[in-house]
């Protein structure tokens, strides 16, 4: 959007400097004005929308800084006069958020790495290897996308409990190490690689592993990056499964911990808000670092059609 508007802008001003005909000049100025109004309108709209989206976040920050008794007062405070930053420290230590965050980060890291690794391998097999029933197996993979996690949650719980994995990192992470979605996403990306690349590598003595590592993965970085971000978001925001698997403090994830924090007592209301912000920080950082990758992953299909 902005690229073509600026191109238009400069094109319009180029023309303006060249002509001296008053009629035409007026017309050009009118075009430019109309154009500028369009830009102003667009940015106003975007600002309003951003405000609507960001307002609850802002209020969370405000509420996290207010004393407990002010928070329920009417009308609500929009700007905290006294800022109680110690709520964050309280949430971190007394609310055990530090501990929960640690668990969340460990589990999320395992799931993300696991999903990316298994998806790369599965997608490679579905793209470059010839084996019996390849199509059928792939369709079965795809079919798992249609099954919501809630359907399998009971059996999964039983399995994990039989394995004695309740209250453990593996219990939290193992059921999510493979994903049909990831295999599908990466296969689509691998399929766009010219077949001749694989054949050239084969002639040059590159086996599957080396071809995967040296050619396929580097060339599919955008898709792999997008998958990593999606996996991370999914793993980070899990609630039901960690709630079932971990009742031990030690293995409680931050989402579950927050919920319990909010249920404890009213005096800790602002502390809950502070906890919420703390829990969202890793995501925020991730988004800032990988926003380009995420957008590219989301639009990849759209551009290629």
């Amino acid at each position: 959007m902005s690229a073509d508007t600026s191109a238009l802008d400069s094109a319009v001003s180029d023309v303006a400097t060249q002509v001296s005909d008053p009629v035409q000049e007026r017309r050009i100025r009118a075009t430019r004005r109309r154009h500028r109004i369009g830009v102003v309108l667009r940015y106003t709209l975007l600002t309003v929308l951003a405000g609507i989206v960001l307002f609850p976040v802002y209020m969370t920050v405000v509420n996290s800084l207010l004393p407990a008794d002010v928070i329920v007062a009417r009308p609500p405070t929009l700007w905290p006069e006294v800022r109680e930053w110690n709520h964050y420290a309280t949430a971190w230590t007394d609310g055990h958020l530090g501990l929960y965050l640690r668990t969340s980060i460990i589990v999320t890291a395992i799931i993300t790495v696991g999903q990316v690794a298994t998806s790369i391998l599965a997608a490679y097999a579905f793209t470059f290897l010839d084996f019996p029933f390849r199509r059928t197996i792939f369709v079965v993979f795809l079919a798992t996308l249609m099954v919501p996690f809630e359907v399998t949650i009971i059996t999964n719980f039983q399995t994990i409990s039989d394995l004695n994995w309740l209250n453990s990192y593996q219990g939290l992470a193992v059921p999510f190490l493979a994903t049909g979605f990831g295999a599908f996403l990466l296969r689509q990306s691998f399929l766009t690689l010219p077949r001749s690349l694989e054949e050239a590598a084969r002639l040059d003595g590159y086996g599957h592993w080396r071809f995967l590592a040296r050619v396929v993965v580097p060339l599919s970085r955008p898709a792999i990056g997008a998958l990593a971000v999606f996996s991370f978001l999914l793993a980070w925001n899990q609630y039901l499964w960690p709630l079932l698997i971990a009742d031990d403090e030690q293995y409680r994830t931050v989402q579950v911990g927050l919920k319990q924090l909010s249920q404890s007592n009213l005096a800790e209301f602002p502390i809950t808000f502070a906890g919420t912000i703390l829990a969202a920080l890793p995501l925020l950082i991730l988004l800032l670092v990988f926003s380009k990758q995420l957008v590219r992953g989301l639009t990849a299909g759209a551009v290629k059609g």
């Binding site: 001749s196 054949e199 050239a200 002639l203």
Partner: protein
């Protein structure tokens, strides 16, 4: 050293026969061109030599050794792909040294080989660029450089010039042949372009629907095409062919064509009589056809001709600057093309003319088998 032999090789994809009972020998240090129309199985044949496809039947030998069950990497052949198959994320240097990284070769040696290959192909200044920052011709050189660093027994090239513009293609043609001479390796070169085949090959193998039509040095293929297919495939414009019954005495035969007859030379008469065909396909190259005025028999480019030719009407004239192609139609609709000099007036379209044939330059084919009839 680097000979490549196919013995009765067949390749089927389901019901499609891509390569049909193909026997072929590529001699050591030879530049053999595999040529044929699209879909005739050239790429498949090449891929079977490389080991990328397995033959359904038959034997592939490289350097005397049967390689049917040898991995591609152990066949000691390098392939240049039509799309070059360069790795987009690697610099030119990385691309060129890619085949060397699987071998135990120390870094200095590798650098030396890469630099040498880059120099051979004039890529020195591009070594640190990515393929996307190169022109088509430069990419093609990178693909070649990557092939030569391996010092293979044989190069396999699948239409490596087809992505280049016409001018660059002509220049690269010469360079490729020159490179092959210098390296002294065997090359199997696939193309659908008969000009490329004629100018580059020390021998040409012509494929049609998966089967070998003819193999030989370019002049021989041009002078003595082994079948109607070869006759019409090699040469531009293609050889004129027309079928007609044979008449007359064994020593003085005539072929009856729509609107007239051609009297055969005594030698040709004996050849045709020997074949026992009562009907025959006559072929004549466009340069051996003259276009004569329908009434006085003067040729289109001014020389005195004969009035005895076959009547035809002019469809159109293609003036190429250095020569002209007169496209004519016989009474029964058969198209005949004459290649004439640019001297003299142009025969107007739709005018009636007489086509004269240089009867010493006729080719004969058996209409049943479409194979050449030879004395």
């Amino acid at each position: 050293m680097g000979s490549v032999v196919l013995e009765e090789v067949t390749k089927r994809f389901g019901d499609t026969v891509a390569v049909d009972d193909l026997s072929l020998e590529v001699r050591d240090e030879e530049f053999l061109v595999l040529v044929g129309p699209s879909g005739c199985g050239k790429s498949t044949a090449l891929r079977m030599i490389a080991g990328l496809d397995d033959p359904t039947d038959g034997v592939v030998r490289i350097d005397g050794r049967i390689v049917n069950h040898v991995e591609p990497k152990d066949r000691d052949v390098a392939m240049v792909f039509q799309d070059y198959a360069l790795y987009p994320h690697m610099t030119v240097r990385r691309n060129v040294e890619f085949p060397l990284r699987t071998r135990s070769m120390d870094r200095d040696e590798r650098q030396r080989v890469v630099t040498e290959a880059a120099e051979t192909l004039g890529l020195g200044e591009f070594l640190d660029r990515k393929p996307a920052q190169l022109s088509g011709g430069q990419r093609q050189r990178v693909a070649l450089a990557r092939a030569i660093v391996r010092r293979p027994e044989a190069f396999l090239m699948d239409e490596p010039l087809s992505n280049l513009d016409a001018k660059l293609r002509v220049a690269t043609r010469t360079e490729l042949v020159e490179l092959q001479r210098r390296l002294g390796t065997t090359v199997v070169y696939v193309t659908h372009d008969q000009v490329e085949a004629m100018t580059m090959g020390s021998r040409i193998a012509i494929l049609n629907e998966g089967a070998l039509e003819q193999i030989g040095p370019p002049p021989e293929i041009y002078r003595r095409p082994a079948s109607v297919f070869v006759a019409r495939f090699i040469g531009s414009p293609p050889m004129n062919t027309a079928a007609g019954p044979v008449r007359g005495e064994p020593g003085a035969l005539r072929v009856v064509l729509p609107g007239g007859e051609i009297a055969l030379t005594p030698h040709d008469s004996r050849t045709v009589a020997g074949s026992g065909c009562s009907e025959i396909v006559v072929g004549i190259r466009p340069e051996h056809v003259t276009v004569n005025d329908a009434k006085d028999g003067a040729t289109a480019d001014g020389a005195a001709g004969d009035a005895s030719g076959i009547p035809a009407s002019v469809l159109s004239v293609e003036a190429l600057g250095y020569e002209r192609h007169v496209i004519c139609r016989l009474d029964d609709g058969t198209t005949m093309i004459a290649r004439i000099s640019t001297d003299g007036p142009e025969p107007p379209a739709h005018s009636a003319v007489r086509l004269g044939f240089d009867t010493a330059r006729l080719h004969f084919f058996d209409p049943a088998t479409t194979r050449r009839i030879d004395g």
